[in-house]
């Protein structure tokens, strides 16, 4: 089955061109040009992945991102022409998994989309446990379930991948670059802020106190590692 892509962009030429490229690469695109209608289109089309322009009429890309993230973990890739740090960080903090800076090369976009849609089938029956012994975080890799203190945690696929990547090698310190490669599928070093923002988002969900993390620990000057099981 072809992956379904919802393209939210008000530029009709770009949308049409994206449609051509995506169809060529084996996706099934749907289009919406208005931020206010994006949520409705999301419900109707049930896409596997969303391409979202930041600057939209009706409702800003950031707000659309938040609204979708509030009810679903569907991967969102921002299409942004703004190179200013603040906008990128704001977009990531509102729940986008990744961003592509305009003008992007079609191959680059498709590679990012594929990285987000990739499924880990090699983990049959794998169960991982990390965090403090008195209140561990339990991960059912195959079932895509994460729980702590018998409560299920709702992680987005990206957050799940990030947590699994850390949990599989509990004592290893991961640099941001390594995480970018393993989780986001970047082959070259890219914006490490992606990692920082998503680690913050992940902590907000799995930690008891995000200010004093026990599950995802920062190793100053190097990167991150999983807390002791």
């Amino acid at each position: 089955m072809k992956p379904r892509v919802l393209v939210v962009d008000d530029d009709s030429a770009l949308a049409e061109m994206l449609g051509i490229v995506l169809r060529t690469d084996g996706f099934e695109p749907f289009f919406v040009a208005d931020g206010a209608r994006a949520l409705k289109a999301f419900h109707e089309n049930k896409p596997d992945i969303i391409l979202l322009d930041l600057m939209l009429p009706g409702m800003s890309g950031i707000d659309v991102c938040r609204a979708i993230r509030a009810e679903s973990g569907t991967p969102i890739i921002m299409l942004t022409a703004k190179t200013d740090t603040v906008d990128v960080v704001l977009g990531l903090e509102s729940g986008a998994d990744d961003y592509v800076m305009k003008p992007f090369k079609p191959k680059e976009l498709v590679a990012r989309m594929r990285a987000r849609l990739r499924h880990h089938d090699d983990s049959a029956g794998e169960k991982l446990t990390i965090g403090p012994p008195d209140s561990p975080v339990e991960i059912d890799v195959q079932g895509h379930q994460v729980s702590r203190d018998a409560k299920s945690l709702a992680l987005t696929p990206l957050e799940f991948d990030l947590l699994v990547a850390l949990a599989r090698k509990p004592r290893q310190v991961f640099t941001r670059e390594v995480l970018l490669e393993q989780v986001w599928g970047y082959r070259h070093a890219a914006d490490t802020r992606l990692v920082n923002v998503h680690v913050q988002r992940l902590r907000a969900k799995v930690e008891r106190d995000p200010e004093h993390p026990e599950v995802v620990l920062t190793v100053r000057g190097v990167g991150y590692k999983a807390g002791p099981p």
Partner: protein, 542 residues
């Protein structure tokens, strides 16, 4: 005459006392003054007033005390001489029948005479009486002899009435001497000898009077100085306070609080100062607001241009890729067109990117995202990035680095962009010869030099390479298709780090670029761990 010098001495003494007291107070304050002198106008005015009034009061006081004491002493002297003249008659009568050689008789005569002379009261005040005769001294009290100065005795022996200031016993006290005045007169004796009659006037009362005058003058002087000082300070305060307020307000304005104004009242000079100041602040505020608005507009414009240009560019990019991908099916002219379109689009994009980057710097919108990282890792990433270019150029990139990590507070993305630019340039102009990247650091700074051995730079060009759109040699082929903004951006990136980016070059010997970064953010660079001129390093090695 002896009496005048002695009198002056006494008067001088009183003057000296007054002067001492005043100067003492002045020197003690002196040290504090010097420090305050420079910092406070009010203090300066106060101090000047104090010194000037003090000096005037001192001169005035000295003059006054001198006049009063000489007046008092002169009056006393005149009275004393007068007393001696009056006493001459009775003394002759009493001493007429006395044998100068018999001490008892002389003593009797002295007692008689003393009683006689003091009976009616005297205008010269109390005095003692001493008779010197060949039999010795006979005084009012016998316990101890009164010393009569030799000079005085000689004068009296020469049959003169003489006068001299000398210590005398106060009345009924022979143990002490007080300041006094001695008047001597000769009285002929029956035996043909000479009695010397000495009147001893203690000057206790006069001294007390003079001291009182001194104290009064001193107190009055101090009081006056304090009063004048207070007035001076009060007046200065009225001027200095508004100035201080103006200075503080100006300081706050300079610190960035543009809404600061001075409160003004009335229409005097001070108020006019305040008004002018406020007008200046108003105009300053207007100007700065306008500039801020302009800067904001510029930033908005940059951001808008960025978005507006990039969206159609994305569409063009995708369409081009599609055409470029399928160029094999096209006739040759169309296929080549697709290739050219693709290549030039790359150049267009990098040019647009660089222009936007530069305009962000111009708008002051560039922000540093520092974290501590190993400079060697950044260099390694750069070298890896430029490998394709290096292979195309047939050059080798050699990295010379310390064995330990070179941790620097930096925005790695920007530093990598600088280095990518420098290495790219070196490969571009290196004519296939090796490019050497050297890393070094000390406690404060870290440096990277990128050296090529190509055509080098002509004299004067080292300062021009960072200019926007500057081209060293128009005829030279540019394989990297540089935008002409690369080094300008690199320089801005270096400046954002409070770092240095400098160039060195000689025709035929190649060029060297040096990036120096402070190892901790906010630190001001004083030197670089690597020399800009590679010759210096070679000399060091020798």
């Amino acid at each position: 005459m002896t009496e005048t010098s002695a009198g002056r001495e006494l008067r001088l003494e009183s003057v000296r006392l007054l002067a001492n007291r005043a100067t003492d107070a002045l020197t003690r304050a002196g040290r504090h003054c010097l420090q305050l002198w420079r910092s406070s106008l009010q203090f300066r005015v106060g101090a000047t007033t104090l010194v000037v009034t003090g000096l005037v009061m001192l001169v005035f006081g000295v003059f006054l005390v001198d006049k009063v004491s000489s007046g008092v002493l002169n009056a006393k002297r005149d009275a004393a001489v007068n007393q001696a003249r009056i006493g001459l008659g009775p003394a002759r009568q009493v001493l007429a029948g006395v044998d100068a050689g018999v001490a008892a008789e002389v003593a009797d005569a002295q007692t008689q005479l003393a009683a006689l002379l003091t009976a009616g009261g005297t205008s010269a005040g109390v005095f003692g009486l001493v008779i010197e005769s060949p039999a010795g001294q006979s005084g009012s009290s016998n316990a101890a002899a009164q010393k009569i100065p030799k000079a005085l005795r000689q004068a009296v022996e020469a049959s003169n009435i003489a006068i001299q200031y000398a210590p005398v016993h106060p009345r009924d006290d022979t143990k002490r001497y007080v300041r006094g005045l001695i008047v001597g007169e000769p009285v002929p004796a029956r035996s043909g000898g000479m009695f010397e009659l000495y009147y001893l006037f203690p000057l206790t009362a006069e001294q007390q009077t003079i001291a009182l005058v001194q104290r009064t003058v001193l107190l009055a002087g101090i009081g006056l100085v304090v009063l004048v000082l207070a007035i001076a300070l009060l007046v200065t305060r009225q001027v200095v306070n508004p100035v201080r307020v103006a200075a503080e307000t100006a300081g706050r304005l300079a610190a960035g609080d543009l809404s600061q104004r001075i409160e003004t009242r009335g229409s005097d000079d001070i108020a006019r100062l305040g008004q002018s100041f406020n007008e200046m602040a108003d105009s300053l505020q207007r100007q700065i607001r306008r500039l801020e608005d302009l800067s904001r507009l510029q930033r908005r414009f940059t951001s808008d241009v960025s978005h507006e240009l990039r969206t159609p560019l994305t569409t063009i990019r995708m369409a081009t890729e599609l055409l470029h991908g399928g160029r094999r099916d096209f006739p040759p002219e169309l296929a080549r067109s697709a290739e050219l379109l693709n290549d030039e689009l790359d150049r267009f994009e990098s040019l647009l990117g660089d222009l936007l980057e530069i305009s962000r710097y111009d708008a002051g919108a560039a922000r540093l995202e520092s974290e501590t990282a190993d400079l060697r890792a950044v260099v390694a990433a750069t070298v890896a990035d430029t490998r394709v270019l290096a292979e195309r150029q047939g050059s080798e990139v050699v990295v010379e680095q310390p064995a330990t990590p070179v941790m620097v507070d930096m925005d790695s993305r920007r530093v990598e962009r600088i280095l990518r630019n420098l290495v790219g340039n070196a490969l571009d102009h290196g004519e296939g010869k090796p490019v050497v990247v050297t890393i070094a650091c000390d406690a404060e700074a870290a440096a990277v030099t990128v050296r090529d051995h190509g055509v080098g730079l002509r004299p004067g060009e080292a300062g021009l390479v960072f200019n926007r759109f500057w081209r060293g040699d128009v005829s030279r082929s540019r394989l990297t298709g540089g935008t002409g903004l690369g080094l300008a951006i690199a320089l801005e990136d270096a400046r954002l780090h409070d770092g240095w980016l400098q160039a060195w070059g000689q025709p035929g010997r190649g060029a060297q670029f040096r990036l120096t970064l402070p190892r901790r953010g906010g630190h001001t660079l004083m030197h670089s761990p690597l020399p800009l001129d590679p010759d210096e390093l070679e000399e060091d090695d020798r």
